[in-house]
Structures are given as structure tokens and as C-alpha cells.
């Protein structure tokens, strides 16, 4: 019979990292996902390492064109933060509609990323915004592009003993971002599809970068590299945008669920990818 797990609440990243070296250690941000998985007996951790008491991980800072959100920042804090609201409205908006107010008061940025549920709101926005996930481990610190963190549903590149410490998001003044979510049932339910788009422009108005990511259409968040083809243009045609959206739908790997058959989800992927791009490029 498994022994009762331990609970530790370190106050520094160093202490947290030490605690994470124990066999069966699991980092806990707010505990909403961990509580859910524990309640359903889907995980059996030996040590719960709660990050909520580490001041360094509870900060949002803006520094040299980059917004840094500590892993233990709550979604509520992220959604209300003035710098996030003004520079990265899609991120503030996405954080502000996750679940319900009780989830947002507790769930964290690090948890949302580490949980790697492809139906969740934050990951596609982070992929569209070209965020980097900073990971600290016994071998040092590494940064993984948000698009490369998840390897499957609830599976990531995180190694045992590693800890997500910060999510770093580039902020450029010309950046425009949108996040659209299609929730045909309750808006508190998972989406049938969600789409995040981000675009920046050169001073002359030419698109410098265009990024698109979809959620809920496959085992991980889907990055759509074809969106970059719109860079260099000033006002892409509706046909060009539709082509990118169709490419996104072709890349989707929907399984089909109560929220839509695989065929329906793929069709909706094209529709919502097009809407997100069109909306983003018109801003």
C-alpha cells in the first residue's frame, strides 16, 4: 500500500528545486488540476511541492521588451495586471475566462502550462505570442518554446526533478493579439475549438510576424507555421487568410467528442482560425 504523500511549501526556488529531487515529487501551483487528478486517483505523488509561498514565482515583471510571469502567478492576477491588459490583451482575456472565478483565483500560469491539457485557454495564446517556458532543474536552466512543451495530452518535455519557474512573453508595441473560443454548450465548458492569433508590423505597416495556434483540435496545442507566410504583406487578402485557415484544419488531429465529431471539429478549426486571423489583422 502506498504511503501517505508529504506536503512541502518552500519559500525559495532553490528549496523548491531541492524538494523536487525526491522520487515522486510533483509541483503544485494552485492545486486545481492536481486536486482534480488526486480526486480521480489519476496520480499518486509521493511529495506535493506547493509553489504558492515562493515570492519570486508570484511576480509579473516587464523587462527589456519581455513580460515575465512567475509560475505561481494566478490566472486572476494575470487577467487583471495592467501591463498584461494593455500589451497582451489576448492573454489577459484568455486568463480571464478560464473556468470560473473560483478556478482563476487559484489556478496558476505554471500549472496551466504544465498540465498540458490541449483544451485549455492559456497554452494556445502562449504559442501564438511565441512565449518561452523557463525550466529549472538539477542540470541548470533551459527555455522551451511554448509550442514545444507539450508532447501529448497531459504529457510534456519536463524531466523528473525539473520545475517551470517563469513564462516569458515578448512584447512589441505593434503586437496585436486575439483569442477566440467556440463553446457551443456552456461557456464554462471546454471549447469545441479555440484559436489564438498574434501579429506585429514594421513601422511602414508591413506585417513583420503572424502566428496562429489552435486548441482542442488534437493531442497538443496546434501551432500553424503556414501563418508566417502572411508576413511581408500589408493587408493580406481574404483568400490568403482562408488558405492559412484551411492549412490549420488539415493539420488538426481531432478525436471527436461530445463537443463535436472529428469531422465537425476539423470544419470548425478552419472557421475559427479564419476568424481569429481576420480579427487580429484588422486591428
Amino acid at each position: 500500500m502506498a504511503t501517505e504523500p508529504a506536503f512541502v511549501a518552500p519559500t525559495t526556488v532553490q528549496e523548491a528545486l531541492s524538494a523536487m529531487q525526491a522520487d515522486g515529487a510533483l509541483a503544485v501551483g494552485g492545486g486545481t488540476s492536481v486536486g482534480l487528478l488526486l480526486g480521480q486517483s489519476l496520480i499518486e505523488p509521493d511529495v506535493l511541492v506547493w509553489l504558492g509561498r515562493i515570492p519570486a514565482l508570484r511576480k509579473i515583471t516587464v523587462d527589456r521588451g519581455q513580460l515575465n510571469a512567475g509560475a505561481a502567478v494566478t490566472l486572476r492576477e494575470l487577467s487583471w495586471h495592467p501591463a498584461v491588459r494593455s500589451s497582451l490583451p489576448a492573454l489577459a482575456g484568455a486568463a480571464g475566462i478560464v473556468g470560473n472565478p473560483r478556478i482563476r483565483a487559484v489556478a496558476t500560469v505554471g500549472g496551466a502550462v504544465a498540465h498540458a491539457d490541449p483544451r485549455q485557454d492559456l497554452p494556445p495564446v502562449l504559442v501564438a505570442l511565441d512565449a518561452a517556458i523557463e525550466i529549472t532543474g538539477p542540470a541548470g536552466t533551459r527555455a522551451v518554446p511554448a509550442a514545444d512543451l507539450a508532447t501529448g495530452p497531459m504529457e510534456t518535455v519536463l524531466l523528473p526533478g525539473e520545475l517551470i519557474t517563469t513564462v516569458r512573453i515578448p512584447v512589441v508595441p505593434s503586437l496585436r493579439s486575439v483569442y477566440l473560443r467556440f463553446t457551443p454548450g456552456s461557456t464554462a465548458d471546454y471549447p469545441t475549438v479555440a484559436a489564438a492569433a498574434a501579429a506585429s508590423r514594421d513601422p511602414d505597416g508591413t506585417l513583420a510576424s503572424v502566428r496562429l495556434a489552435l486548441a482542442a483540435v488534437g493531442p497538443t496545442v496546434l501551432a500553424v507555421p503556414e501563418a508566417a507566410e502572411l508576413a511581408g504583406q500589408r493587408a493580406p487578402s481574404a483568400a490568403a487568410v482562408a488558405e492559412i485557415a484551411d492549412a490549420a484544419a488539415r493539420r488538426a488531429l481531432p478525436a471527436g467528442s461530445r463537443l463535436g465529431s472529428a469531422r465537425y471539429v476539423r470544419a470548425m478549426a478552419a472557421v475559427w482560425a479564419r476568424r481569429a486571423l481576420t480579427d487580429c489583422l484588422s486591428r
Binding site: E4, P5, A6, F7, A9, V28, G30, G31, T32, V34, G35, L36, L38, G39, L48, W50, G52, R76, G99, N100, P101, R102, I103, A105, V106, S186, T187, A188
Partner: protein, 150 residues
């Protein structure tokens, strides 16, 4: 392992496993306003305030509440009777299962959105408190009345 917290203004000390939820602790202490409903953070009947913020106590690890100020609907009814009065006056309940959670949500909505919150903001805020009887109209009236303070 020991958790020390303030529950409805009273200091409490409990010895619970690492995996215990705050809801388990509250129920074991004999308070029954917060209930185990869906157990996945969706239905809202386990709503409580932790340091002023609403949480689903079913998904909140008890040890995360060490040192916290926790309020359930029982405590809110004592210190903020006008909120409960608003629900009674507006008939914002039918079977009553969801009511303690709605009371917690009313207090949290007032704190987060302020007294000037409009109906769509309040509707959005109450998204996580399900009622299967009334159809929400009178609950919304009660929350508004509670927010207005009359």
C-alpha cells in the same frame, strides 16, 4: 500534518493528510453549508472564501490554506446578514442546495467587481454557481441587491 487556519473568524488546528481538500476539513469540523457536489470545481456548491477570494474547496488542498482566513456561508451569514437577507427577500432559492455557494459568490462578486457591476458582469461572474431549480433570475436579483447593499 497540521493545518492552522482561521475558519469563520475562529482559530482552528487540524491534522490532515497532504491530499485532503479544504472541503474535507470544513465538513469534518461540522460545517455543512459547503457541500461536495461535482467535486471537479464546476458546480459551485463547495464555494468558500480564502483570504477574500472565492475558491472551490473541493479542489483546494487543505495544506494550501495553512495560515489562511477562510469563510463559509455560515460565517458570512453572521457578519454579512444583509447578503442572506437579500436572497430571502428576492426568493433567490428553491431547493437551497446551491444557495450557500451563491451567497459566497455574491460576496466575492461585490469585492472583485465593485458595487457598480452591471448585470452582464454579474452573470459572467456567477457562471460557476449552478442552480438546477430557479432559472437564475431571482438569484441574480439577490446578488444585485446584495451588491447594492439594500
Amino acid at each position: 500534518m497540521t493545518v492552522r487556519l482561521s475558519l469563520n473568524g475562529q482559530p482552528r488546528e487540524v491534522d490532515v493528510p497532504a491530499t485532503a481538500s479544504l472541503l474535507d476539513v470544513i465538513r469534518d469540523l461540522g460545517l455543512t453549508a459547503a457541500k461536495a457536489g461535482c467535486r471537479i470545481g464546476v458546480c459551485g456548491v463547495c464555494s468558500v472564501l480564502v483570504d477574500g477570494l472565492p475558491v472551490s474547496s473541493c479542489l483546494y488542498l487543505a495544506h494550501c490554506a495553512d495560515g489562511a482566513d477562510v469563510w463559509t456561508a455560515e460565517g458570512i451569514a453572521k457578519v454579512r446578514p444583509e447578503v442572506v437577507d437579500a436572497f430571502v427577500r428576492c426568493e433567490g432559492m428553491q431547493c437551497g442546495i446551491c444557495t450557500p455557494g451563491q451567497v459566497v459568490a455574491a460576496v466575492a462578486a461585490r469585492a472583485e467587481l465593485g458595487p457598480a457591476a452591471d448585470e452582464s458582469q454579474l452573470r459572467e461572474y456567477l457562471i460557476g454557481n449552478l442552480c438546477r431549480c430557479t432559472g437564475y433570475a431571482t438569484i441574480l436579483q439577490a446578488v444585485k441587491a446584495a451588491a447594492d447593499g439594500h
